[in-house]
């Protein structure tokens, strides 16, 4: 209490500039007068009396200082003095200040920009309460190479009652549904979810309610929860929406709740993230298959762990459960399939894919920050040698060393804070422009914002960098040798050996760091280049894809496109009409999975080869796609063997399929490894959600042809086994129409829509995209990180060049006299040039040596981001080292030239 009272009084005195000095002086005068009188009374002479009184009192200057220190807060007061002095120093050399501040602004601004992206994605991946408890549950069959095969209803119930989770929800993977009844049939992303879905996330509706977690309706409970966006867009934020009917795929649902504006469904695809309608379903009754243990739903399982249970502990409980279930149901879980259930944290499954890219970017930007800080430290040291006399004089007048260090520290902190604020301000002003550079495929892209947290980060980085990089120069500066500095009188201080060594270390580290960054950028550039040059195996040129969705009502009896025959009438008509559109040369149809490099990956299907596998659960898996016969020609995928399917392969004729070369190689390798001809072989594909949901086993499918491999799933993966089947034999609901020809993307959508809707006005037609565009989009995250790293590397190179230029200039300046004497004694100008350049080369060699070691470490860490390039790629390393050396030598050449042209007479005279 007393301490606080004293502190606040002192603080207010400081703020008010109140001084007690006047009062003290009067008191001292009185004191002396009293004492003098006393002394006089004791019989001293007046002069002696005054002298003794003053002696007894002690040094009045020291008393005043202590009194003043007591009156106010000397620490803060000195800080203000230092700050004022620092501002004055910066104003006196605006060039230096400008360069230093903009260098720091660049480093901190760039770091902060990347941080804001990371803040929105990696650090806050899940906008739900207690996100750490949320896990994704995935069923794998590693024995047959199948991952994420979905969960069956009995398994879900086992998990619910296992005691590991508070609640387990199952949801569809996200799909689209046609909302009809409004002026234009609209296509919405919906998800069917178990009624406890929202309870798992812990999110309440803003209007109405979410589903009752204890609802036990086996099929759809015909309740719908809608998103805030849909509510505002389609229903004008109608507050009486609750209870209204929603016609989805011709089924009637009732709206029970509206989710709050911030709620976004998670998911790895953009369709999933944009879910606007959630439908409650028990997943156990029609239209879902009967709830048998072996019938796995195409689903995503998200659960909330019991509080305090770690993922590792939960996993071990789960493993025990899996073991006992395997014993209990040996028929459903054959040993070969090696059924396993895996828990991953939900945040990992949302942002796991971009983590590596973002961490790489953050690392790169961190290096840029480091280089810019080193550069500024270097500048500070260079300036210190110019201020050598000032420092020496201050020391001679009794300035304490800690005081000097503090003052230099304040100066560098001021610089860094100004730089940080400038960087943040630039970032804040250009954020809208910068966000355009961020690829849309980044999760949570809409949540990236320049907010208070980001500002706090920028300031914290500034202060930390200012302290670290200001302390070292301040320390070295304060160690000036007083006598020799003063003695040198304007001869330009030669500076201590220590300081020039410090500068060299700084430059070497700068060069090394830039080399690391440049190697990283070079490797990324090369792998991106390779990706860009890769033959995708299909021809995206002039192909436009347009999407449409056929309704899939819950009651199959009301589905007018239930059978392949029914659907094929529509598809033939769509294709016929599409070909009549102006500019269209060819047309084909495929399902969503057949959309090259699209968001939806084909579902893996168990492949049962005749005479080899006998059960679903033992079969290897293969990606299944459904296309119309023209698909291969439109996309330019050549037939290698056998035949393609044709319009004559229909529902009533034997089932046929075409596989790609990778599938042929993998599943029909032949006995001697030469490859067996798969044409004519028969297979069965089970667990196929696209099949009509009846219990009849699908007939054998005959492989009729083999096509060349195409990278339709991922450009980076060479060949994934695929099996194509005809849409006329296997009806698909989610369709893409592929059109080849010289088309106007804006106009073609409207034309196609009017054609399709003149056949069936209920069908939504949307999202026209050229495949060329899709191809470049698919590389967007990679391109983004490559461009950014390349930009950072260029910045680093520039800064390193500046750094070495500064250091060599400094060396030349320091050795002016020596060089002049050498020249006067007849040294060749060329020899001087070589001498200076050799200094530069020495620094480069040291920097490059360290840098190569660092780059080797970094390149191995980022091996996962590289494609077709070895992390030790010799060309990249050599090329980058060459570039760095050239730039560094060029930067040293300028001061070397200056040294060579030195006029010995004027130089020696002026010293």
């Amino acid at each position: 209490m007393k301490f606080l009272r004293r502190f606040f009084i002192r603080l207010s005195n400081l703020a008010a500039g109140q001084s007690a000095d006047q009062r003290l002086q009067e008191e001292i005068a009185e004191h002396l007068a009293f004492q003098t009188e006393e002394n006089l009374r004791a019989g001293m002479s007046p002069a002696e009396a005054r002298r003794q009184a003053a002696l007894k009192l002690g040094s009045s200057q020291a008393i005043r200082e202590h009194h003043h220190a007591e009156q106010s807060l000397p620490f803060i007061e000195n800080l203000f003095f230092d700050l004022r002095y620092a501002v004055r120093m910066l104003l006196r050399s605006p060039g230096f200040a400008l360069i230093a501040i903009s260098t720091i602004a660049l480093g901190i601004g760039a770091t902060t920009a990347i941080y804001s992206v990371i803040d929105a994605t990696l650090m806050h991946p899940l906008p739900y309460p207690n996100p750490a408890e949320l896990v994704r549950i995935q069923n794998d069959l590693p024995g047959v190479g199948a991952q994420d095969v979905g969960i069956s209803v009995p398994e879900w119930r086992d998990l619910e009652s296992s005691g590991i989770f508070q609640s387990v929800s199952v949801s569809g993977a996200g799909a689209d549904v046609n909302l009809t009844g409004s002026a234009q049939p609209e296509r919405l992303s919906y998800k069917h979810v178990t009624p406890n879905y929202f309870a798992v996330f812990g999110i309440e509706a803003q209007l109405g309610r979410t589903f009752d977690p204890h609802d036990a309706t086996p099929g759809f409970n015909l309740e719908a929860v809608i998103s805030d966006g849909l509510w505002k867009r389609e229903f004008g934020a109608d507050s009486h929406i609750i209870g209204k009917a929603l016609l989805l795929d011709n089924d009637e649902y009732h709206v029970v709740g509206v989710m709050p504006p911030g709620f976004r469904d998670l998911g790895s695809t953009s369709e999933e993230r944009n879910t606007e309608v959630w439908l409650g379903a028990g997943m156990a009754g029609l239209p879902f298959p009967p709830p048998l243990r072996g019938t796995r739903l195409q689903s995503r399982t998200v659960a909330r762990l019991k509080p305090g249970l770690s993922i590792v502990a939960a996993q071990s409980h789960l493993d025990a459960l899996v073991r006992s279930l395997k014993k209990q149901y040996p028929a459903e879980y054959p040993a070969q399939a090696a059924w396993a259930v895996r828990l991953t944290s939900l945040s990992e499954s949302v942002v796991g894919s971009v983590r590596q890219s973002l961490i790489l970017l953050f690392g790169a930007v961190g290096l840029v920050l480091l280089i810019s800080c080193v550069n500024v430290a270097n500048l500070l040291l260079a300036r210190a040698s110019l201020r050598g006399r000032e420092i020496a004089v201050r020391q001679a007048l009794g300035a304490q060393r800690t005081r000097l260090i503090r003052q230099f520290l304040v100066e560098s902190l001021l610089l860094f804070l100004l730089g940080g604020i400038a960087g943040f301000a630039i970032l804040f002003c250009t954020q809208h422009f910068l966000l355009l550079l961020v690829p849309e495929s980044l999760p949570h892209m809409n949540e990236i914002s320049i907010n208070w947290g980001v500002l706090a980060f920028a300031l914290a980085v500034s202060v930390a960098a200012g302290t670290v990089f200001g302390l070292a120069p301040a320390w070295l500066i304060s160690r000036f040798d007083l006598i020799s500095t003063l003695r040198q009188e304007g001869r330009g201080s030669s500076g201590s050996r220590e300081r020039s060594r410090a500068r060299q270390i700084l430059v070497v580290s700068e060069l090394a760091l830039s080399l690391v960054l440049m190697v990283a950028a070079g490797l990324l550039l090369r792998s991106f280049w390779d990706l860009f040059q890769v033959q995708p195996g299909f021809n995206p040129d002039r192909v436009t894809a347009i999407q449409t969705w056929l309704p899939g009502p819950n009651d199959p009896a009301t589905d007018i496109y239930r059978t392949a025959t029914q659907e094929s009438i529509l598809l033939h008509e769509i294709l016929r009409r599409s070909r009549t559109l102006p500019g269209v040369e060819e047309a084909a149809i495929g399902d969503v999975a057949a959309f090259p490099l699209g968001h939806s990956h084909p579902r893996p299907l168990p492949l049962i080869r005749e005479g080899i596998e006998t059960m679903d659960n033992q079969a290897p898996v293969i990606d299944g796609l459904i296309v119309s016969p023209e698909y291969f020609h439109v996309l330019g995928m050549p037939l290698l063997r056998g035949r393609l399917f044709s319009d004559q392969d229909i529902e009533d004729t034997p089932q046929v399929a075409v596989i790609n070369q990778a599938a042929a190689r993998m599943y029909w390798p032949g006995k001697d490894g030469k490859g067996e001809d798969p044409v004519g072989k028969r297979v069965r594909l089970h667990l196929d959600a696209r099949e009509p949901l009846n219990s009849a086993r699908s007939a054998w499918t005959t492989i009729v042809g083999v096509i060349a491999d195409a990278r339709t799933e991922s450009l980076a993966d060479a060949a994934i086994p695929q099996i194509y089947r005809s849409v006329y034999q296997h009806p698909a609901k989610d369709l893409d129409v592929f059109l080849r020809g010289q088309l106007e993307p804006g106009a073609i959508l409207a034309q196609e829509r009017s054609q399709i809707q003149s056949i069936d006005a209920q069908l939504p037609v949307f999202h026209a995209e050229t495949l060329d565009n899709v191809l470049s989009e698919s590389l967007s995250v990679k391109r983004f990180s490559m461009e950014m790293v390349a930009f950072f590397a260029a910045t680093a190179l520039l800064l390193a060049g500046l750094g070495i230029y500064g250091t060599i200039s400094y060396v030349v300046n320091e050795q002016r006299r020596e060089i002049a004497i050498r020249l006067a004694l007849g040294a060749q100008k060329g020899a001087i040039l070589t001498m200076i350049l050799r200094r530069g080369l020495g620094l480069v060699a040291a920097g490059a040596g360290l840098g190569v070691v660092g780059a080797l470490i970094v390149s191995h860490l980022m091996a996962g981001l590289l494609f077709g390039v070895s992390p030790n790629d010799l060309t990249t390393f050599a090329g980058v080292t060459l570039v760095l050396t050239t730039v560094a030598l060029a930067a040293s050449y300028i001061p070397a030239l200056r040294a060579m042209r030195l006029d010995p007479i004027t130089t020696l005279h002026s010293e």
Partner: protein, 115 residues
């Protein structure tokens, strides 16, 4: 002041408070004089160190000060004990006596007493 050990610092403050308690309001010289009289050489030199201490005590609220006239009609600044100061003095006297008593017992103890 830095050179003086903390104990002396604490005792000096206590002496100031006690002096003011005994003699009522005093000016700086008067306080210095009394302390010198009682304690001998503790303030023999550097009487000036008293003034920062007085300011500190005033900031802490233990004493108050105002201008007044001295016995021989000089203008001087008079310091007086506040209520808080009186309380502080009491508490510190008690603490001090306790400490002194414990130390005294230690010093008086003989080897025989402990066996």
């Amino acid at each position: 002041m830095k050179e003086k050990p903390d104990v002396l610092q604490g005792t000096l403050a206590l002496m100031v408070l006690k002096t003011l308690d005994l003699l009522g309001p005093q000016h700086g010289y008067g306080i210095a004089r009394r302390i010198e009289q009682i304690s001998g050489d503790i303030l023999a030199v550097n009487q000036g160190t008293l003034y920062p201490l007085l300011l500190k005590l005033e900031h802490e609220g233990s004493i108050a000060s105002e201008w007044g006239a001295s016995d021989n009609n000089r203008r001087a600044r008079f310091y007086s004990l506040t209520g808080a100061g009186r309380k502080q003095l009491k508490a510190e006297t008690r603490d001090w006596e306790q400490t002194a008593a414990i130390i005294a017992r230690f010093f008086n103890v003989k080897a025989e007493d402990l066996s």
